[in-house]
């Protein structure tokens, strides 16, 4: 947390957003958020006392083992669900429900299958009526070209490949000029090749206007490649285990992942995640072999 404060105080940090940038940027503050599910007699605490900050203009990546409550956290910030306790503040105001200021790119594709790609893109602006006619059409086509789907705009989502669907979803979120983008493991399920390309593409988009971004993943390499700041979640019930500021220079490219700096970040993050994983293994009394194997992997 201390590092973050310094970063915002510094008038000219290395990765500050450039002037001439029109995106309005929002920050999110999570204060002592708790969420649990289930009946009273068998309550499952998913999130306990989670306190964190998503700084405007930064790409914050939340990393944690799968099943640790990352998606629940996304649902809370997006406003689909309400926390049991604690506060979620968007620019100082509590989040009460979903809104166009926070666009979510979902884990599985949520493009509406009965609308063509183009119809999906213009769906949001049409609903609200804030962008109309030729201006809307031009903007939709511009974004579709930008994500490389110009030729595919009249295809239905199910006719597109997994990577194309993800890009269409990015375009659908971007046309709404959200103040905050929330991405819940958006590249999961893509093959390694498309995944790498999508990461680079997404990073390019982000570095263009530095729209505040919350990116959730379980892949440590992806996290370090993208992040300004890493928030490592503890295993269930999840809370913030550690915060690492990633100071790799921008614009980034894939080769940087093999630099000693990136490797140092990875070691640091892995050590913490390893500790968490060990805790959960011990808690469930899993066999010693498994723990040994895991220790060897991270050494």
């Amino acid at each position: 947390m201390q590092k973050a404060v310094e970063a915002t105080m510094n008038p000219n940090p290395p990765n500050a957003f450039r002037p001439g940038d029109h995106a309005i940027q929002s920050g999110i503050q999570l204060k002592g958020v708790c969420k649990s599910y289930g009946d009273e007699w068998e309550r499952q605490d998913v999130i306990v006392e989670l306190t964190a900050e998503i700084t405007p203009g930064e790409l914050t990546v939340i990393v944690g083992p799968s099943g640790c409550g990352k998606s629940t956290l996304v649902n809370l910030i997006a406003g689909f669900e309400k926390p049991d306790r604690g506060e979620i503040l968007l620019n100082g105001k509590p989040v009460t429900g979903p809104g166009r200021d926070r666009m979510v790119v979902f884990q599985e594709t949520a493009l509406i299958p009965w609308q063509t790609t183009y119809q999906n893109i213009v769906f949001g602006p049409n609903l609200r009526g804030d962008l109309k006619g030729a201006a809307l059409h031009d903007e939709a086509v511009r974004l579709l070209r930008k994500v490389g789907l110009g030729e595919f705009m009249h295809k239905y989502p199910l006719q597109l490949s997994g990577g194309m669907q993800r890009r269409a979803e990015l375009a659908r979120a971007l046309i709404n000029q959200p103040e905050l983008m929330i991405m819940d493991e958006p590249f999961r399920g893509l093959d390694a090749m498309s995944r790498g390309l999508m990461q680079e593409f997404f990073l390019k988009l982000f570095e263009e206007n530095r729209r505040t971004n919350l990116f959730v993943t379980s892949e440590i390499d992806e996290a370090i490649f993208l992040a300004d700041r890493l928030i490592l979640l503890a295993n269930r019930p999840s809370h913030v285990r550690a915060v690492i500021d990633v100071k790799l220079p921008r614009p980034r490219h894939y080769a940087m992942l093999s630099s000693p700096e990136a490797y140092a970040y990875k070691r640091e993050a892995m050590a913490i995640l390893h500790e968490e994983a060990m805790k959960s293994f011990k808690a469930t009394a899993t066999s010693q072999d498994f723990i040994d194997a895991f220790s060897r992997r991270t050494d």
Partner: protein, 303 residues
């Protein structure tokens, strides 16, 4: 000046590859293309062979071997010679006006019943799937009424409505209403929560969600339901016509049996089968037209 390359040079010889249509043909060209594609697939031949096999077995049982139990049943030769006869001995053939009158009366009843059932059932099902409150009010009633066989409603229908027409239509409507409502409701419930969330995120209000997510999302189920419901409508129509009616295919079947003429009875049955099949095709075609996204998704899976 650079020499112009001759067209086609340096490309793969086109003769090695199957010819591909660059633009979608229209009108007769499209029809011709579809016919050619269809004739190149085994489907039409298998269908023709299946129909032949079915009629051959029927002939063998009744007229070929004249097995004891099938002796009283008119065989296909008798049926078809009567069906296509200018002077039918038992009164019904494709050249008699009465035959078409029976078909027309039944079709009219089906059209009204199916329209009513759809007009009531689809909105009802959409509401039941969409609103938990409305579901809680209405679902128990639906589930209580649904298992009552349509024949059990016949006396009630005759008591409630005058004449021949209304009770018959009422019974057919009732039967297909339950199917349509239930399928529509399940259709809404089957929609992935992610689409509701996406729409909410993009700023959709309640009515927008209903229009853009609930209705189109439930369409595949609705049309599956409508295909079943038109079948059920025919089924209950015939049952109703047998009990209360003056014309119609169901009436034809029963009155022929009562009068001891078995040939028109079987003609009535076969006609009913073909007309029912035809109405089901129409429903399917309307569905495919409305759900291009679904059709294309299925086509990608090779279906």
């Amino acid at each position: 000046m650079a020499t112009m390359a001759t067209p086609g040079s340096g490309t793969t010889p086109a003769s090695d590859l199957p010819t591909r249509l660059r633009t979608k043909p229209t009108g007769f060209a499209l029809f011709w293309h579809q016919t050619k594609t269809s004739l190149a697939s085994p489907t039409p031949y298998l269908t023709a062979f299946g129909i032949f096999l079915w009629f051959f077995t029927y002939w063998l049982l009744c007229e070929g071997l004249q097995l004891p139990r099938f002796v009283k049943i008119p065989g296909p030769v008798t049926i078809f010679s009567e069906w296509f006869s200018m002077n039918p001995t038992q009164g019904i053939s494709i050249f008699t006006a009465e035959y078409y009158h029976h078909i027309a009366v039944s079709c009219r009843r089906i059209a009204i019943a199916f329209f009513l059932a759809t007009a009531i059932g689809v909105p009802l099902g959409l509401l039941m799937g969409w609103s938990k409150k409305f579901h809680d009010y209405s679902f128990p009633i639906l589930e209580t009424l649904r298992p009552i066989p349509i024949l059990a409603w016949v006396p009630l229908a005759i008591l409630m409505f005058k004449g021949y027409e209304t009770p018959v239509i009422f019974l057919a409507t009732l039967a297909s209403l339950f199917v349509t409502t239930l399928n529509t409701m399940l259709g809404v419930q089957s929609i992935d929560e992610a689409y509701f969330r996406a729409a909410g995120c993009l700023g959709a209000k309640k009515w927008d969600v209903f229009r853009h997510v609930v209705v189109p999302g439930a369409l595949p189920y609705i049309f599956t339901g409508l295909q079943i419901s038109i079948g059920v409508a025919w089924f209950s129509l015939v049952a109703a016509e047998m009990v209360s009616g003056d014309f119609g295919l169901g009436y034809l079947i029963l009155s022929s049996y009562v009068n001891g003429v078995t040939v028109p009875m079987v003609i009535g049955m076969l006609t009913l089968g073909f007309v029912g099949w035809f109405t089901s095709i129409i429903v399917r075609m309307i569905g495919n037209r409305l759900m291009q996204w679904h059709v294309r998704a299925l086509a990608l899976q090779g279906r």
